[in-house]
């Protein structure tokens, strides 16, 4: 039964990935101007455009380009960037590592903080601490992240000179230098994602707290702290894992604003660049990576929920 559920989800994931590939392909067709136009810029003439288009294979019909690409993808070949001529795997390679590094560090810091604060707020609902946490998280959710990031740069880099204003990595950095270099984007992203996770942890636990068997335990006189840690948290863990998974997916694919402000070479910015240079294979490769990450994370979260939920583990 459990295996069946997992297999079904994997099938759904693969279907999603295929649909994404078609959607991205169709959408990029809608863009005005093609890669040849972008490469030649203001200096394009019809003649040079035609030459370049032919060389880039842009004169072939769309569906043929799609199937060629899909075939290559199955053999693990991501193709060649139409714009720069580099292989896409080489473009993505280093950035993939950068994105994972940043996402990993942010997750490492924000997940424990969020769960602890969320639990704390849930243990004392309505207290001042709870209100401060609620209000603080709401405030950070509500302000655009480029505003938070810019204020951080002005304070810590421009005024105090404590931290570098950009997150440019060099090859020979020690781990401490690396942490210092990444401090600003890490802090910004921790603020952004924690707020969401704290709120959902709190909400999830309070939600379980209102269920009859917990109410029963409260009536029996079990201390509230123990109820939350032993019973409520375990029961709420499924939804919490889900929120964490979604935030991780966001850290991989959606942090373009932070990558731009801190000049951090990550995947999200690469994808935006791909759209702007009409580099179709590059956009598709990035979209595939994001989509696969999303599907995998959700899969892990779902399995986590199933495993952590006794009722789902042993269904009727």
């Amino acid at each position: 039964m459990m295996l069946q559920m997992v297999l079904r989800r994997i099938a759904i994931g693969i279907a999603t990935i295929l649909v994404v590939s078609v959607i991205v392909f169709v959408m990029t067709r809608l863009l005005p101007g093609d890669v040849a136009q972008i490469i030649l810029g203001q200096g394009a003439t019809p003649e040079t455009l035609a030459v370049l288009r032919k060389e880039l294979g842009l004169d072939q019909p769309g569906y043929i380009q799609y199937f060629i690409w899909l075939g290559d993808l199955f053999t693990g070949d991501l193709g060649i960037s139409k714009a720069g001529g580099a292989t896409i795997s080489s473009l993505i390679g280093g950035r993939f590592g950068n994105t994972m590094l940043l996402a990993g560090l942010v997750a490492l810091i924000s997940i424990p903080i969020s769960i602890v604060l969320g639990l704390w707020a849930a243990m004392h609902p309505g207290s001042w601490l709870d209100r401060i946490i609620t209000f603080g998280t709401l405030s950070t959710i509500s302000v655009p992240e480029f505003f938070i990031a810019t204020i951080m740069v002005l304070i810590f880099a421009v005024e105090l000179h404590w931290l570098p204003s950009t997150a440019m990595l060099a090859d020979n950095m020690s781990f401490l230098e690396l942490l210092r270099g990444l401090a600003m984007p890490i802090i910004t992203l921790v603020i952004v994602v924690s707020a969401q996770m704290i709120r959902m942890t709190r909400a999830g636990i309070l939600n379980v707290m209102s269920s009859p068997y917990i109410e029963m335990a409260i009536l029996k006189g079990v201390p509230r702290g123990r109820i939350i840690l032993r019973h409520a948290f375990l029961n709420a863990i499924g939804p919490i894992i889900n929120v964490i998974a979604l935030n991780l997916a966001y850290l991989v694919s959606g942090v373009v604003v932070v990558e731009t402000i801190f000049a951090y070479p990550g995947l999200a910015k690469l994808m935006i660049d791909g759209v702007q240079t009409r580099d179709l294979p590059l956009v598709q490769a990035c979209a595939m990576i994001f989509c696969t990450t999303y599907v995998l994370l959700i899969l892990v979260a779902d399995i986590g929920s199933i495993v952590s939920n006794p009722r789902l583990r042993h269904p009727k």
Binding site: P32, Q37, G43, A83, G94, V158, L270, D273, Q276
Partner: protein, 543 residues
């Protein structure tokens, strides 16, 4: 930052950096011991340097002479744009970051001085035949590529003919149209055979795209330039080390990192925080921030960076003379220069020649006044009550200038709608297609090329579709006219024709505004691109 063409030829001129260490010392001693400019000129005349060359030495030497350059150190340069399409192949280069890398890795045949005269680089001489249809270049000997291969005429012939080949995709293919072919005459001698006379050829040989690569290669970073390629990740950064076998004296810096920070606010913050030492494209809103901060300098180079609104003359509403006049009169030029460009720019007069072009600028033609009443009169006469203007942030301040025009139009009852579109795809999808759109042109080295590229009848980039035979005639005649007064009169007439007749609204020209760390010395000031025409890598040093 697009392609550009370069100035009238005065080949064979020395610049300060071309001098031997001994001669430099001589000049420096003279300057520092408090001699006047005239004394120094006299001194050099004694040592056998021609007066013109001496003048040139002084102007190109300038700052560098104030102190002895020091070797060592490294800098990071942050441009405004980069992406997966970053190029090391010169014919395809279109952005400042590419141009800078081309200056770091390769050399041209000729290069530009601050005053835009062509200087020898890989070509020691560049001489025309009598009717300027064949140009013979003697190449420098003893130059080697980064991998040790000697530089010869084959490399030049290969690199240059790539632009004009039938299947060329070079950005400057049409610019080099007049060239039939580059032919090898000897191991270190090349001749350019032209289809028709072109006195401006030397300027073309110093374009960003006309860098010399090794025979048979397509931009793998192995050139003859002052730095070697250490690493290159498109859209991330490139790193470079000094080329110790350079044919000139060699760069002062040990190493360079070239990258971009696309967010304008972040770019300025990186400069002030010390994370980048040279940054391009400073937004006018940040001038004050840089001027007030310690350790950084705003580098504002007067240049004819054109801020334009194209009203296409072959379609509505630009085909209507009164609509175009209305658009010209509604421009509050003073305010654009003073408030939007914060004084770092010059007034435009609806033609593409700016004061940066020197004597060829028509100062007799009065600047068109901001006159809402006349604008109102013309708009009403045109019958249009509204128009749609396509705006993309193709240069700093252009959106703001359009907003100002919009606000002023609203006050006289004309509804100027702004349609904001992204910069990517702009040149293909909007420019020269939508009836009213913004445009930005980098400065071309001569008034003639500046006007010809946009206004010669039938020119590929005639972006207002305004064809005037007299303009074409004047541009051709002026090239052959040697009397400065007569030539000035011709250019004046051309400018007046464009000013009145074309669909081009040019309220202002912007300076090129960059920021550098204050300890950077010896910055070149070539006005053809960011950071001194991207010429800085070889020449700067850290105090």
């Amino acid at each position: 930052m697009k392609d550009k063409i370069k100035p009238r030829h005065t080949p064979g001129e020395l610049r300060y950096t071309d001098l031997t260490a001994y001669d430099k010392g001589l000049v420096e001693r003279a300057v520092r011991s408090g001699h006047s400019r005239r004394d120094v000129l006299k001194l050099m005349a004694v040592t056998g340097v021609s007066m013109a060359t001496a003048q040139n030495l002084l102007s190109t030497g300038g700052e560098a002479m104030a102190q002895t350059p020091k070797k060592g150190g490294s800098v990071r340069m942050a441009s405004n744009l980069h992406g997966p399409d970053d190029q090391l192949d010169p014919p395809l280069m279109t952005s400042t970051i590419d141009y800078t890398r081309s200056r770091v890795l390769y050399n041209s045949l000729l290069q530009h001085a601050d005053d835009l005269t062509p200087q020898p680089e890989l070509a020691e001489t560049c001489e025309p035949n009598a009717d300027a249809t064949e140009w013979t270049m003697k190449l420098r000997q003893g130059v080697v590529f980064h991998d040790g291969t000697p530089f010869t005429a084959d490399d030049v012939v290969y690199s240059m003919n790539r632009h004009i080949a039938e299947d060329s995709k070079s950005v400057i293919k049409s610019v080099l149209e007049s060239v039939q072919e580059f032919k090898k005459v000897g191991p270190h001698e090349v001749v350019a055979v032209l289809k028709n006379p072109n006195a401006d050829l030397p300027t073309l040989l110093g374009l960003f795209q006309t860098k010399i690569v090794k025979n048979g290669t397509t931009g793998d970073g192995i050139g003859t330039g002052p730095f070697t390629l250490e690493s290159f990740e498109p859209g991330v950064k490139s790193t470079h080390l000094r080329n110790e076998n350079y044919w000139r004296e060699g760069a002062n810096l040990d190493a360079l990192e070239i990258t971009a920070i696309t967010d304008p606010v972040a770019r300025v913050n990186a400069l002030i925080a010390g994370d980048a030492q040279l940054v391009t494209q400073i937004d006018p809103n940040a001038f004050r921030q840089i001027e007030e901060a310690d350790g950084v300098t705003l580098l504002s180079t007067p240049a004819g960076l054109q801020m334009g609104i194209c009203c296409l003359r072959n379609t509505e509403p630009g085909s209507n003379d009164d609509f175009v006049m209305g658009m010209k009169y509604i421009q509050d030029r003073e305010r654009i220069v003073n408030r939007i460009l914060k004084g770092k720019g010059t007034l435009g007069n609806d033609h593409p020649v700016s004061t940066a072009h020197g004597a060829d600028y028509c100062s007799e033609l009065p600047i068109r006044e901001f006159d809402p009443d006349k604008a109102k009169f013309h708009f009403e006469k045109s019958g249009y009550k509204s128009a749609e203007l396509y705006v993309a942030p193709v240069m700093s301040g252009i959106e703001d200038a359009c907003l100002l025009a919009q606000a002023n139009c609203a006050k006289i009852g004309f509804d100027l709608k702004l349609k904001k579109v992204p910069t990517d795809g702009y040149w293909g999808a909007v420019w020269m297609k939508e009836p009213v759109n913004v445009v930005s042109w980098n400065m071309r080295p001569t008034a003639n090329s500046q006007m010809a590229i946009q206004f010669a009848p039938g020119a590929a980039w005639n972006d207002t579709f305004w064809n005037n035979d007299r303009v074409g005639e004047l541009l051709t005649l002026a090239l052959a006219e040697l009397d400065p007064a007569k030539r000035h009169a011709m250019y004046c007439e051309t400018q007046e024709l464009i000013h009145n007749g074309s669909g081009m609204v040019i309220p202002a020209f912007s300076n090129i505004n960059d920021g550098i760390a204050s300890n950077i010395m010896g910055m070149p000031k070539v006005p053809l691109g960011q950071l001194g025409g991207c010429e800085w890598p070889e020449f700067i040093w850290l105090a």
